[in-house]
Symmetry: C2
Subunit: 686 residues, 2 copies
């Protein structure tokens, strides 16, 4: 390689190198580690290796790139253009050579056919390096004098053309090979699965001729909802997405009741495994129909879920997870043929499950951690998924810790007097006027607020039916901010003189949110239920922070459905989450699902999370000696002792009562905290 | 390692080395590569590591070995002796240390329990190195603070104690692990399958506590008969053997008719696959019952068969094998889970099939070659299995060639007027008096010859029913030696005047072997049928010899049932086999079955035959230009042109006619041959 050889820069990776004139662009990319897909092995028939030349003077790189620094289209590429078409500016990198300096763009969404583009779960590009590769080869016909078997000649050609050594073959292909080879007139496409540097590559599927499509499934098995994406393994594009209720709900609403069901019903485990696998298969059918994809083209799948979902899906009895020491049957990543899990896809399809972090922090949390990547950066990042159990992962590239906190069902609307699941008609947003103590709210399905014109008509059909999880957070936070409840969560009965919104309810008081049918109030018990739930979550977080020796968190990712709908500010006012710059608190949607997608599309992510999980330290919150003290302090809004300076800059918090720290015995801690918050508040006003 | 360290010699391998005092004997063996079995990993509970100290002065090795050069029995070994018993002189090598020079014998048939000793198929010891190893480990109990899953802790302990890295787990074990671990109170025995240096080790089975038995199956699927051995993988001992008819016979007597059946019946392939697998399963049941072994203890199996049997067993359509270019679907070795072949053994059991050499020379021939080992030595060795097709392997360590010759069913009694399969009542031996031309014979089931007293009574019940394959050889050879037929196989009608044994039969003559009910004669057609069959075989052999540039063979192994019963001398008189020192012509019984056994008990043999097969050159006899000439010359007894000097030393052959070589046009070849034989005959008389 001479210094006068052309310099080639690939975007978006930025990798560059010098290559002699005449070097095939695809080879140059490969040599630099730039991932460019190819199925037909350079025959210019699959079109997957398309690139674009960026013309112009790129002073920063010292490259003047021009279209004619790439060889002119040859016969092969012309033929492809005639038969399949090439969009403007697109060139086949397998059939073009480097003739001068070049800046080459590798499109991340190579359009081969007119598929609808769907947004990724999160709008991030996943660099592709899938575990399954399609490889087209052409074999010599059998020769009586060279009696190597058909399958053996196939393996030899795959070794020669694609450099796969020591290939295994999925057993079901043994009796199909001869037919397929002859049908393809000795040209066939092999799907080769190779996951990990020590794994032997395996031919898992075979088609006659050039087969140019390969799909994968990324699926998050939630306790309540199963979410699935159908993805092209070649282009990385999400082709279809769908979801369904987890049918195990009929055996038990929550996880522990499903464990009980197993313990009390001899066929319970089997029934629940069958139910979830059937649901997965139905979803596969749905996404295939929606994406117009054949099931037979699905070659790889990634599933995530919490440990009990994970075990039931694998057919493992989850009983041990229901009691200390909460022993996982398997914590490491799992790699099995899809057929062993009764999943209907290509007969050779594979399934990968991410590792579980601990008995209550599962593959879904690992996937969320993979997605958000606390371990990939320097800031202290917290990823939290709030459900009946909250899973918390906290750390940075130096150290990561994890815990599970039993928050209970309050955040989903259960145990709340007017609580309900999010559905049209449910109150989802609430504001309470600090002076009048009058509420205004918004319901799901209607755009106008309750105090705006047209609300009555707009809401007439749906009605105002109850309060959903995100609204619970808001209404209680607003009740605190407006003084309806104290920092200890007590509804102030004295306010009954000021406003008809405060109603007596036995020996306690309630706040009337909506006087309709039904009548929607927030009771003292409701407030307590939320306090208990949020205190459990905060205590788990605080214990992790103490383990890491930190007093604040730099970044918070709220994962899961709940995270998507709660207002981070209100969550912080409640003290559900610790103090943090609110600009760095984000809902990240189904991070677990996105993590599954990352693992599906890139083997390196699998190795990454497998390694990371071995370093994540699991804290068993209930056993920590500080837990009780921290929990009690966390009952108060936002917290009895911990300061919230970042929050105070954004929101005017009510003055703190000078109370005793539950464990401290002095009021100096409270005073110090109040001073800190007052200073912060003053700073924000100047 | 000092030169004053004790010197230890292991027998029978002869490996030796110096080890510091205090070195555990088992460790020393392993370091030298001496295979000593151990399941319990040094806990002195399995008893598999037993050795014997050979006392005395071994001047050749410079070792004076004594019992007290081994540490005295410790508590562990005492306990084993109390509980399980140790035969005199036996010591547990895992619990004894080296304290002085030693000669240590590693018994090849370690008796753990009182099993009946059966002879191996061939009385040879197979050095053991099985693909499945039993490994006992003890795990820590689960710990909430160290949330590694049960299966993951198992893998870790197997890595720590047994040095297995990167272990995979058979999927069916995922949901059984927890139960088994707890049942074993955290002590379990794992069966680990690892076949080949690039294969990842896989846990295929798991038992609670110490599980001290592992069995394997070696099976030869013949066209007519399926032969199976049940073997202990730990001791190498054959525990039971059995055989059964191949049920595919009902779909077609011979191989080609079975191929036709597939082509003409849409479910034919499936029916034949099902039939052979059911037969294999039944045989497994039989050998298990006979050996008092549980099916669940069978972990590894090796199957061999000719290519059509091989393919049908694997569920592969054999149609391509019925026509040029006779393309094998797979020629390399096959390694699949037993469950994929519907075989009932341990759920994690594996199956290995040896490679096939060519379209008509299958895994059975490869197994026979493995057994006899032409590639392992310097002499020119021929291994031949005579059936409807004869498979021939010829060569030495430098070069090996193989061919298949279609001999037809004559050697099994078909197409012979009085021919029948070997069964009680069939003539199996014949002698014809050179002067009187009177025959005497022996039938299967009766010890006396037909000319001895008591024969009539002894044979009254069975009757004399026909001539079996081995007797065909003898009677025709005797007819030649006595002059009844010419070297060209023509029955001499002129002899009808001399003896009532020569009968007219239309336009030809027959020889009357037995005038009973039925009347047993050898017709001219019978002779022709045998000539054609033996000429085909000889021609195949001769072509291989020409390829190797040799004019004689040093050693001949006659494999298969036919080989067991024919008299090599008569086979050579017939010219069925080439000239060779008769002391070096041996029947080797079911060499294919023994080769399967070798591959079952020692992974190195699998690698050996996989490598050897890649070097075996396949000759397609029917396409060779010389075939016709060689074939025609081979019609004569023993051969028209080839000399048989070795044979002439043992047997007085009739004088050769001075005929023309079919392709030579001169009589010099015949003359030269006759001179050579005459000289050889004179030498043998002096």
């Amino acid at each position: 390689m001479a210094t006068t050889d052309p310099l080639v820069l690939f975007m978006p990776s930025g990798k560059r190198g010098r290559f002699a004139k005449g070097t095939v662009v695809l080879d140059a990319a490969r040599e630099l580690g730039v991932y460019v897909e190819s199925v037909c092995g350079g025959r210019a028939t699959c079109g997957r290796c398309q690139v674009i030349v960026q013309e112009g003077n790129f002073a920063k790189h010292g490259i003047t790139s021009a279209n004619d620094h790439l060889s002119a289209r040859g016969a092969k590429e012309e033929r492809y253009e005639r038969v399949r078409g090439l969009a403007d500016g697109r060139r086949l990198s397998c059939s073009s050579t480097i003739e001068g300096d070049l800046v080459i763009d590798v499109p991340q969404d190579t359009v081969i056919n007119a598929q609808v583009v769907r947004k990724a779960a999160l709008d991030r590009v996943i660099e592709r390096n899938p575990a399954v590769q399609l490889c087209y080869v052409e074999l010599d016909e059998p020769d009586m004098h060279k009696p190597l078997g058909d399958l053996d000649r196939l393996k030899k050609m795959l070794e020669q053309d694609w450099h796969y050594h020591d290939l295994q073959v999925a057993p079901h292909l043994l009796h199909e090979v001869q037919k397929i080879l002859r049908k393809g007139e000795w040209g066939v496409t092999a799907a080769i699965h190779r996951d990990g540097p020590t794994a032997r590559p395996t031919i898992i599927a075979l088609w006659p001729g050039l087969h140019n499509e390969a799909y994968g499934i990324a699926c998050d098995i939630g306790s309540t909802t199963i979410a699935m994406h159908l993805v092209s393994l070649l282009s990385g594009r999400i082709v279809a997405s769908s979801g369904a209720s987890n049918p195990q709900i009929r055996f038990g609403e929550d996880l522990m009741s499903r464990v009980s069901y197993v313990m009390m019903n001899p066929n319970g485990r089997e029934a629940m495994t069958t139910a979830v696998r059937e649901a997965a298969n139905e979803l596969i059918g749905k996404v295939c129909a929606e994406g117009d994809v054949a099931r037979d083209d699905i070659l790889d799948m990634v599933f995530v879920g919490n440990p009990i979902m994970h075990h039931l899906f694998l057919g493992i009895d989850p009983t041990e997870l229901g009691q200390a020491p909460f022993a996982l049957a398997v914590s490491g990543a799992v790699d099995v043929p899809a057929s062993t899990l009764d999943l209907s896809a290509n007969a050779g399809a594979r399934v990968y499950l991410l590792p579980c972090i601990a008995g209550h922090v599962g593959a879904d949390s690992a996937a969320a951690a993979l997605c958000e990547g606390p371990h990939r950066q320097d800031e202290m990042m917290m990823v939290v998924d709030v459900g009946t159990n909250a899973e918390i992962v906290l750390g940075n590239r130096d150290r990561v810790v994890a815990a599970s906190s039993p928050t209970g069902p309050a955040f989903e609307g259960a145990e709340i007097s007017s609580g309900q699941r999010a559905a049209p008609g449910a109150i989802e947003r609430v504001r309470i006027d600090k002076d009048t103590l009058e509420p205004r709210f918004k319901i799901i399905g209607v755009d106008t607020w309750s105090d705006e014109d047209g609300f009555a008509e707009a809401s007439a059909q749906l009605g105002v039916t109850g309060i959903c999880g995100s609204a619970i957070i808001e209404v209680i936070a607003e009740m605190y901010l407006s003084g309806v409840i104290s920092e200890d969560g007590v509804i102030d009965g004295a306010l009954a003189d000021k406003t008809p919104r405060i109603l007596q309810n036995g020996r306690t008081w309630s706040y009337l949110l909506h006087d309709g049918t039904p009548r929607i109030t927030v009771t003292q018990n409701d407030v307590r239920a939320i306090q208990l739930g949020k205190a459990a979550l905060y205590a788990g977080i605080k214990l992790l922070m103490e383990k890491l020796g930190i007093d604040h968190v730099d970044r918070i990712s709220l994962a899961g459905a709940f995270g998507t709908f709660i207002d981070p500010t209100y969550a912080m006012v409640l003290g559900l989450i610790p103090d943090c710059d609110l600009d760095k608190v984000k809902a990240v949607g189904n991070a677990a699902g996105h993590g599954a997608l990352m693992a599906l599309l890139n083997r390196d992510h699998r190795r990454e999370i497998e390694d990371t999980v071995t370093h994540i330290e699991k804290i068993e919150t209930a056993l920590e000696p500080n837990f009780q003290r921290i929990f009690i302090n966390a009952m108060a809004l936002p917290n009895k002792v911990d300061p919230f300076p970042f929050l105070a800059q954004q929101v005017t918090l009510p003055p703190r009562q000078i109370e005793q720290d539950a464990g401290d015995g002095t009021d100096s801690a409270a005073q110090r905290r109040r001073s800190r918050e007052d200073r912060a508040a003053r700073r924000s006003r100047t």
